[in-house]
Symmetry: C2
Subunit: 214 residues, 2 copies
């Protein structure tokens, strides 16, 4: 059965996944350094952006390498795709990831301002003005029987949670406190009515939270 | 870089992976019940032999589903393939797994008594009279750039460890004591001179041991 999954999504100990005031210079917004938040993944052998050999092959690596495992499509919010708001003033913008995006599948970008699809390497970006349920249906059809990753940002994950569309989540909780920002949760146990929850501490200091439907 | 990996190999708390006196009736030998040893994997959603929907999607499931992830070939010892010893008296024997073996790749069976290759579904069994290094070379060539799984039994894993050919291991340590039998190790820390070791307790009672080359 194909699932809607969140994978390798990282929040601070206080549940913050991004700061306010996203910009080109600060893709994760004020007070939120993606290198700090994602350092656990960057240390692993399977980190997709790794350019040098090496890296750890312990617990964190199992999660890092599951990023692409059995994934056939991704859904992301417009603010994961880019920093512009409102009508596109610059359709030259093709995301943050250069010529080789790490997705390798169709990607559906949720936005009220659609624009033509385009392809970079083996990733094709489509733009959808749709509800979470409609987007889930389209992405599942494109995924060829594989799972669909809900890629973020945090607002998009919350929308899919609120619509009760998510089957399983891997949330990495980093040992930092951010304070201000966009919050995934106040407390993961708020989801215990709908999800089984396992909390697995890693030697790196990350606590991997695994949630799946009851 | 393609690796030689051990994946989901399960031993008791005292390091035993199989009993003595393997037979058709007791594939894991005396005193060693595979259902007990492997129950952690059987409970997961991704267990390849699962016939009904359901199953857990927590930590144990991450390991269960990594069984096939990026694996292009398996090497196994003859005693994993079957219970006969010496020259083949029954070449009708095609392994324990029926018409749909869970490997889905070429499998190289190490034996001093070679016999013709055969195919069941998308698994082809080859029989090799070879050293671990020679078998590793052949399996890597067949794996098309993917990793090679050292599938066991325990004697085969030990031979590849002794030849220093293994890059990474996932060993699940089950919360049972067996006593007599074929042992993977007296103590996993005996391998600390060659491997990083992480020990990750799962809510199921299993302790996942992750080892990778220093």
């Amino acid at each position: 059965m194909a699932l809607l999954r969140v994978q390798n999504f990282t929040v601070s100990r206080d549940g913050v996944a991004a700061g306010h005031n996203q910009s080109f210079e600060r893709p994760f917004g004020d007070g939120c350094d993606p290198r700090e938040l994602m350092s656990w993944a960057g240390a692993t052998a399977s980190w997709p952006n790794r350019t040098e050999p090496g890296g750890t092959r312990g617990l964190d690596d199992y999660f890092a390498r599951d990023f692409t495992n059995n994934i056939g499509a991704e859904i992301m919010g417009r603010n994961k795709f880019g920093y512009q708001r409102g009508p596109w003033t610059d359709e030259q913008w093709q995301g943050w990831w250069g010529d080789e995006p790490p997705f390798h599948t169709p990607v559906f970008v949720l936005t009220h301002h659609v624009r033509p699809s385009f392809t970079l390497s083996d990733t094709t970006f489509h733009f959808l003005d749709a509800t979470p349920a409609e987007a889930a249906e389209q992405a599942k059809a494109a995924a060829g029987g594989k799972d669909v990753r809900i890629g973020g940002g945090v607002t998009t994950v919350r929308e899919f949670l609120d619509a009760d569309l998510i089957d399983a989540m891997h949330i990495a909780v980093a040992p930092i406190t951010i304070g201000q920002g966009l919050r995934l949760w106040d407390d993961p146990d708020d989801l215990a009515d709908r999800f089984h929850i396992e909390k697995i501490p890693s030697p790196s200091g990350i606590v991997h939270h695994l949630l799946w439907r009851t």
